[in-house]
Symmetry: C2
Subunit: 166 residues, 2 copies
DNA sequence: AGGGATTGGTTATATACAATAACGATATCG
DNA sequence: CGATATCGTTATTGTATATAACCAATCCCT
């Protein structure tokens, strides 16, 4: 979130030099009262925070959720992971490939269907997931500090209502 | 947001065929209680809603905000718009080009600096912006219906707190 | 049991969006 | 004047998401 006030740091004009009227403060209009705009700014911010918090384990948000789901549902197929997370199966392939390449997850032959793969975490994957969970918990605490414990619960409830299909 | 229950529609297995335990319901674990995850799902949803709502005027979220800012701050330079909205100046060029190509905005020579451009809306741009504002207001009402009038205010406040730099 | 339709996984490809590097023209500062 | 910074631009990269087409395996229906 960059407020109009921040603009001064990118502004070559000096205070000594008279600026035409109030042009030095950009009028954002009703923007800060639009759900979509505020939601986008919040997402960009939290997204950056996430990236910084999980840099040590080098996991992107989607990779993190995939590891989490696989860890909690041993033997899940790729399609199942995809529909559970709302990912496109075609985009899931390179994502999983990367996790496999790093030795975090495995594709094992499925028992009942020779087309599908049963997905498992390797011991390394489980260890990394655990570490990632710790880092993520710390992030969640920092985010909670911004909105308060009660505010966090309310926020999550409101966001769920916002994304529910009506 | 795709719930675990939706998975059945992508699931080849029949009910008659005994499924190992409760595997037919994917355990999302603590995911639905993570601010980042819930925020992302909400953003994706609202983003899609926005696209649908403003299809008539064919404006993407960023284009909409740019028109809004230019309309409210006549003669702003490109850099000023960029820093006000947190956009990269390099990414702003093709965005503005498109608006100019469609006859919605203009680059006029700036009075005080021959390097910079004073940005203006054309009459067509102003008309389209007004129409877009109407469509957007309707969208905002539909979103408000999901969280309630009071919930909307609370949500915006919480999102602001979430994206503020601490 | 056989044959059409469907599904799981994959590849290739297209589009949108954000970030970096470098450049010419202009403006500012010492 | 000369060093330095800024405005706008191009080119390029990386990431995220969506579409089309494909093979093999499975399902469904008669």
């Amino acid at each position: 979130m960059r407020s109009a006030r921040d603009r001064s740091v990118c502004d070559g004009r000096r205070d000594a030099q008279p600026v035409p009227d109030d042009e030095h403060a950009v009028d954002l209009g009703p923007l800060d009262d639009f759900i979509g705009y505020v939601l986008r700014r919040a997402w960009l911010r939290v997204s950056a925070d996430f990236q910084a918090a999980l840099r040590e384990v080098d996991l992107k948000p989607t990779q993190f959720t995939v590891l989490l789901i696989i860890g909690r549902n041993v033997g899940l197929s790729q399609s199942e992971v995809c529909s559970a997370l709302g990912i496109q199966k075609t985009n899931f392939v390179p994502l999983l490939n990367e996790l496999v390449r790093r030795g975090l997850a495995e594709r094992r032959p499925a028992a009942s269907d020779r087309r599908s793969h049963a997905l498992h975490l390797t011991p390394e994957g489980e260890a990394l997931l655990e570490r990632a969970m710790t880092l993520h918990a710390a992030l969640e605490e920092r985010l909670t500090a911004r909105v308060g414990k009660r505010g966090r619960e309310k926020l999550i409830e409101l966001l769920h209502r916002l994304s529910r299909t009506d």
